[in-house]
């Protein structure tokens, strides 16, 4: 049997209103307190229609999915009513599907229960608090500055530089050249990262300078330090 919306990685009874297609089955089976495959189709339909009447917007997809499910259940029931006959391949598939649905329902219900326990616990204010984050100190135990923090800082500096002019007359810097420039600077002592980047003539040069800094950082030739958030970022020789 070709399933509607084949290829979707799901059980093909999507009912987003209930946050999960299995949920509809679950709600309905729980309400009836019987095995879904034992439930009478009319009872299932009753329960479904009463759910539906409480909705403000009816989703045609959801309704179609329900019909599809109901059709399968009907076929299953008729298979049971005619015992002794060799099931056709299509019918064997269907029986496998029944087993699959049953297994999934049990699993899903188990997780749902666990989720509810977790929610109850979280909402009963049963939390634990970790120690507060502290300022980074230059001496002693330092926290590494994540590279993306550097990139964010760089982006904000970049915004202060003019874009490249249409007629370009400046020097086309290479990273290697800039690496040399930075090494030169370091021989005169540590410097402010932002200051050096802002010396660039245009954004391209700024980017190349930044690349050179990252490269030196990678090679372990320099350290980048910041006393606390939003303060100056210093480049020092390693």
């Amino acid at each position: 049997m070709e399933q509607p919306g084949a290829g979707r990685p799901r059980l093909d009874v999507a009912t987003p209103v209930f946050e999960g297609p299995l949920e509809l089955l679950l709600v309905l089976t729980e309400r009836e307190e019987i095995d879904i495959f034992q439930v009478s189709l009319s009872a299932l339909t009753e329960a479904y229609l009463s759910e539906l009447s409480q909705l403000e917007e009816r989703d045609p997809v959801e309704m179609a999915d329900f019909l599809w499910l109901a059709a399968r259940l009907l076929l299953l029931k008729s298979l049971r009513l005619l015992p002794g006959e060799e099931p056709e391949p299509e019918e064997s598939d269907l029986l496998g599907w029944e087993e699959d649905v049953r297994r999934r329902l049990i699993q899903y219900r188990a997780y749902k229960e666990m989720a509810q326990e977790m929610m109850a616990r979280a909402e009963a204010d049963q939390t634990s608090f970790p120690p507060p984050l502290r300022d980074v100190e230059v001496e002693g135990h330092e926290q590494p500055i994540p590279v993306h923090a550097l990139v964010v800082a760089f982006q904000s500096v970049l915004a202060r530089l003019p874009p490249r002019p249409l007629v370009y007359v400046g020097i086309a810097w290479t990273v290697d050249q800039k690496v040399e420039v930075v090494r030169d600077r370091l021989r005169r002592g540590s410097f402010d990262l932002v200051e050096v980047i802002l010396e660039s003539q245009d954004r391209l040069e700024a980017a190349v300078t930044f690349m050179a800094i990252l490269d030196l950082l990678r090679r372990g030739e320099i350290l980048v330090r910041q006393r606390r958030s939003f303060e100056q970022i210093w480049v020092v020789a390693a």
Partner: protein
Amino acid sequence: MNEAERLSAAIEAILFSSSRPLKVRELQQATEADRTAVESALDALRESLTERGVMLQRHQDQVQLVTRPEVASYVRRALRPEVAGRLSSAAYETLAIVAYQQPVTRSRVEEIRGVNSDGVLANLELRDLVAEVGRGAGPGQPKLYATTMRFLQMLGLESLDQLPTPAADGKRALEVVRPASSSSDAGEGEGDGEESREGEAEPSRSD
């Protein structure tokens, strides 16, 4: 103070002054003790904190001192820590699946829930309740998700061993769920997986 007590005290002091979770390996380096010694010192520390306001929280190879959930309301009143927004029931559902199945792929979560769980997982990741811990062995090397330290804090658990225990039939269902040949051969490394912590507090239900 004998040697074992001193080690336990040293570890308590280190954890107290740290603002982030520390790895067992870091504690080994700091105390120049071997793994077995650090592990038993941690056990002793956890024991000794039983009736106290802080407890030892452990996730994989990381440990941290956190406040005990039973006194959360006092801490909240005194310090008014930031409260994270409430999670939806879909989020708890996804969290439960990740918690019991970890490390787990998105498609496995979706298989159980029956719906696309991309957004929910991204939201949980943003809140640092789940994190990517590696790649699965399957086609396309799917991301593997696991719960975090933050997850333990939200539920006030000392470790994953304290996750609510499913009722008998539910437990069977959860076991059935566990794939026989799990694709969890990623995300370990660094010998982090070999902690044997038997005899640890049996899963307790709080009610």
